[in-house]
Amino acid sequence: MPLTDADLVARVLVHDDHHAFAELVRNHQSAIRGLLRQLTRNDLALADDLAQETFLRAYRHLSSFRGEAKFSTWLYRIAYNCFREDARKRKELVGIDETMLEAQEDPQVTDPALKHDLMHALSLLPLHERSAILLCCQNGLSHDEAARVLDIPLGTVKTNVLRGREKLKKTLAAWGPA
């Protein structure tokens, strides 16, 4: 019978079992790397660096995981924090305009030929809407879980999902169901 996340966490904490931690990484690497790829607008190298930092941070602070939320939700929160910290650092180093992180270009004025590309449409959303859409619609988190990950009120998550959806629907209208 496969071990649950809680069993594996307990093994790491009690015996410092590296095999158990490797199992946790294998179970969750796809979801965490996928989320970070979307957040970094498909910068694969950066996403994998952030994913490594996420898991290393999770290992260091594993004793603070109290099992109140799902392990995956806890990991998503660490990954999102890693992404935000990195974005802030890079902004300081190369002077990235805050608008690049928070409010991207208007989807209405982009090349219509790219509209069919959902990845591109996602990348056009402001960060707060993109994060909410990725967590709730793509990764299947409840609004409540997404609120914990993003550390924002539940109502704000619902609003961001709704607005993000509306924008995606507009951008992808021609490719929707007839």
Binding site: R26, Q29, L56, Y59, H61, N81, Q138, L172
Partner: protein
Amino acid sequence: MDEELHEDWLDARLREEAAYIDDAGFTAQLMQKVPARRTTRTSLRGAVLLGITMLACVITYLASDGGHFLVSAVQTLAAMPLWILFVVATFCAVVVTVGAASAAYLQVRDRS
């Protein structure tokens, strides 16, 4: 109806984009960076702290004429007016509370 159909279509497309990402050596590479066992280091740290504390206690006892300074301090405190004792106790309570609150805040911040 159209609205729901469009949302289902959108959700389906989003989930398709979240296709499984092959490990491709990611876990192996990560595990090389995971720190080595911490249990021995933790027990060693505890032993060192305990040893140093006991040594400090012995040195203090010998250097203070068998702990006579404690008796003197208690006698001095007993001779103080009540309001001074109250001020000293309040000050100590505030210092301990601020320290504990700071430690709690730092721990919560590290977890988030």
